[in-house]
């Protein structure tokens, strides 16, 4: 059983109230940071921990914090990105609704480290009930003197606001989030300038994922070095993985980074294997935007080593034979899954969620969806398969924000690893167009 740093008390009744949370060691990190540490020491501690951003990109959090511009007389902000809307990822929702005080505590400690006196939690619009839970937790923190003026007599002031978005996926991109928070249309900004220099209201801003901010709490409580002991190599600490798809026990698991993928899928401690006694076909390891991998490549790297749940191991082999840890949305698919249909479904999502600002993404996501729709419904041609790859390549890297890549990667990877299945959809068009039609398993075809 791995160590649980974030979710240890998640099932304690009443943990969403201040009293119970405090009784279980809550708000210790705030006391420790505000009373015994300087802001720079907190940043240093986070750097030592090796914590990497949990939102998907995996950028070291401590380094991100140290990039924050600190001009005299201009306020700085910390914004928590709680706009979790990647298909397959649902870890932040659980964390916020069950342990709202953990996020509030993390926000206070992190804001102190960054010298921010006004911080925001930007939450996805659909999670309105979570917003109410957070607002209640914030009100309790105010009432107990952990928020507001002169927190714990340290002279540090902090106001914390929760702001709901309208439910657009694009507002999870940090600059689009800031635009939306400012009350504008959620279009991503051109970079540079980066948010660390000109973010919210043109002030220096740090945008962090919910889980990253929550992880600051155990880091300050136990020390960064203690946190860094967990994990493998540059992937330190624990990570919430939201497992879904055709596994026996879907749900949210806090794992120590470095657990083998095979153990994660088949061990009873985690997913418990594939449901209905079926075989695993493919896995999307980090939310819908990361490349899909077939069974043999997700369990073992191309070099034949066991793949581990770490940033490095999952991306071993680049995009040719690897994928990414991403945001931890682990989607397993059994042998009855139609990869073309699944890819079409992902594409439909990105088509719907593209903001329409820059041309490759606006036009390309729709194009991908239409071609995939055609293939899935038995109207495709062989040349459509190469067309998909070509269009994905035209989008990738040429857009303002990473949504373009998020739309292109899954399509390119699906064709890369499951080209035979796309071809089957062309050659067996009538069969493929039947509802529930599935590409026959390898053995059956031979």
């Amino acid at each position: 059983m791995g160590r649980k740093l974030l979710t240890e008390h998640i099932n304690v009744p009443g943990i969403d109230t201040f009293e119970v949370y405090r009784k279980h060691g809550g708000y210790r990190s705030v006391e420790k940071a505000l009373k015994t540490m300087t802001p720079d020491e907190v940043v240093e501690e986070v750097k030592k921990s090796g914590l990497r951003g949990r939102g998907g990109a995996g950028f070291p959090t401590g380094m991100k914090w140290s990039f924050l511009a600190k001009p005299e007389g201009i306020p700085r902000h910390l914004v928590c990105n709680a706009d979790e809307s990647e298909p397959g990822t649902f870890k932040d929702r659980e964390l916020m609704s069950k342990l709202p005080h953990l996020l509030v505590e993390g926000m206070i400690t992190s804001s102190y480290a960054l010298g921010a006196n006004t911080s925001y939690i930007y939450i996805r619009g659909e999670l309105l009930y979570v917003l109410r839970i957070l607002e209640k937790a914030i009100a309790e923190a105010y009432a107990n003197g952990f928020l507001g003026k002169n927190i714990l007599g340290s002279g540090y002031d902090l106001d914390l606001h929760v702001h709901p978005g309208g439910g657009a996926y694009i507002c999870g991109e940090e600059t689009a989030l800031l635009e939306s928070l400012e009350g504008k249309r959620g279009n991503p900004r051109n970079k540079p300038p980066f948010p660390a220099v000109q973010g919210l209201y043109a002030r220096p801003t740090v945008v962090n994922n919910v889980e990253s901010i929550a992880a600051v709490v155990p880091i300050i409580n136990d020390g960064g070095e203690e946190y860094a002991k967990i994990g493998v190599g540059r992937s330190t600490g624990t990570k919430l993985i939201s497992a879904c798809g055709h596994v026996k026990n879907p749900g949210i698991y806090e794992i120590e980074l470095g657990v083998p993928v095979e153990e994660f899928i088949y061990s009873d401690e985690y997913c418990g294997g594939i449901w209905k006694g079926r075989d695993l076909k493919a896995v999307v390891a980090g939310g819908s935007s990361v490349p899909i991998l077939p069974k043999d490549l997700i369990l073992k790297t191309a070099a034949g080593e066991n793949r581990l749940m770490t940033y490095e191991s999952l991306s071993d082999g680049g995009f040719v034979t690897g994928t990414m840890l991403g945001s931890g949305g682990f989607i397993a698919m059994d042998e009855t899954t139609c990869i073309v249909r699944n890819t079409w479904n992902f594409s439909r999502f990105y088509h719907h969620e593209s903001c329409g600002q820059c041309s490759p993404c606006r036009e390309g996501t729709g194009w991908l969806e239409k071609v995939l729709h055609r293939l899935e419904h038995g109207h495709g041609h062989m040349h459509d398969i190469d067309l998909l790859v070509s269009v994905a390549k035209q989008i990738e890297g040429n857009t303002i924000c990473p949504l373009g890549e998020a739309a292109a990667w899954p399509v390119a990877a699906a064709v890369r690893h499951f080209r035979h299945e796309f071809e089957w959809h062309v050659t067996h068009a009538k069969q493929a167009a039947q509802p529930g039609a599935v590409y026959p398993a390898q053995g059956v075809l031979a």
Partner: protein, 338 residues
């Protein structure tokens, strides 16, 4: 000051200048195309991705290449930067892809479009696009919308460059103009077809790179290449209006009035609706002389001729009759005449 190398040409520009403007300082054929960037409009640029360039060296301090192509219109230069535009095959390939993306939902109704001949998209597609399409699906279409007595919006042709949005935002007082919807369903809208009702609304026609916003007083009157542009001015009562315009003549009739554009198709001095739509008599204006036509327009001859001439034909001509393009480039726009 920062010194950069753009396609092998060195140029020195003030700090904070964008790569595109540095390239424009060099001028000529190496300037990246720009479909959405518009110098006078704050915040414009970065959207169409037509101006993507490769930064082969970030700066003198950090000479690593940038990992992705960057939009030259919004990326500031740094001392020692090395930029590749026409010298990079990657950039040219990507640009071809951008043309394709911009055209898949464009109706390509150039034969009936008033913008044809002075259309940025037409020029861009002609220079960088391919003759065929791989797009088999239905194209996105919209109904035409009248916005006010003078302007018609035809969203089907729109490439969502946001120029008109910035114009409406920065030039006019009451903003009832923006982008509704998202993705490929996004459209320029005027909130339930509110009329853009102010004295400078006509400028959105000039900034539109395609034929999405057209002048209703000129619609279907004449192909632009059959009209003669003449510079003229009048003393306009409106304080923000420059009164300096181009009159487009067919015979003795002034068919339309536009603001003056520079060589990159950008309006430098805005004009009011009175000058644009109401004053269509020669007697209203003081004539300055024929207007210089920009490099990208079919109105200026020869722009489209060079690529279609068989190289053998040129080779067979006596040397004296062949224009040495290398040393005597075609007359640069805006040079000499205004």
């Amino acid at each position: 000051m920062a010194k950069i190398t753009f396609d092998g040409v060195e140029v020195e520009v003030p700090d904070g200048t964008t790569i595109l403007n540095a390239a424009r300082k060099i001028g000529g054929g190496i300037v990246p195309p720009a479909m959405c960037y518009y110098t006078p409009l704050k915040g414009s640029g970065g959207k169409c991705r037509a101006c993507l360039v490769r930064v082969a060296a970030g700066s003198a301090k950090d000479p690593r290449p940038m990992p992705k192509l960057v939009a030259s219109c919004v990326t500031p230069v740094q001392d020692g930067m090395v930029v590749e535009n026409t010298t990079s095959q990657q950039v040219l390939d990507v640009r071809k892809g951008i043309v394709e993306m911009l055209l898949i939902n464009h109706p390509l109704d150039c034969p009936v479009c008033d913008q044809a001949g002075e259309c940025d998209l037409q020029n861009f597609a002609f220079e960088h696009g391919v003759a065929t399409t791989r797009y088999e699906e239905e194209r996105r279409t919209f109904e035409k919308i009248d916005i006010g007595p003078y302007i018609q919006l035809h969203m089907t042709r729109c490439i969502l460059c946001y120029r008109c949005v910035y114009t409406a935002d920065q030039l006019t007082d009451k903003r009832v103009h923006g982008v509704l919807g998202r993705g490929d369903a996004a459209e320029i809208g005027t909130y339930i077809e509110n009329v853009i009702d102010n004295e400078f609304s006509g400028n959105v026609i000039d900034v539109c790179p395609v034929g999405a916003l057209t002048d209703k007083t000129f619609r279907f009157k004449q192909r632009v290449w059959f009209t003669k542009p003449v510079n003229a001015h009048r003393n306009c009562e409106h304080e923000k209006c420059s009164g300096r315009v181009v009159l487009w003549y067919k015979g003795k009739d002034v068919l339309r009035v536009t603001a003056r554009k520079d060589e990159y198709g950008e309006v430098k001095e805005w004009i009011c609706n009175t000058c644009r739509f109401e004053k269509k008599e020669t007697a209203d204006w003081t004539i300055e002389g024929p207007a210089h036509v920009d490099r990208t327009s079919v109105i200026s001859a020869n722009h489209y001729e060079l690529p279609v001439v068989n190289p053998q034909v040129i080779a067979d001509l006596p040397e004296s009759s062949v224009r040495d393009l290398e040393n005597n480039p075609p007359l640069k726009l805006g040079a000499g005449r205004q």
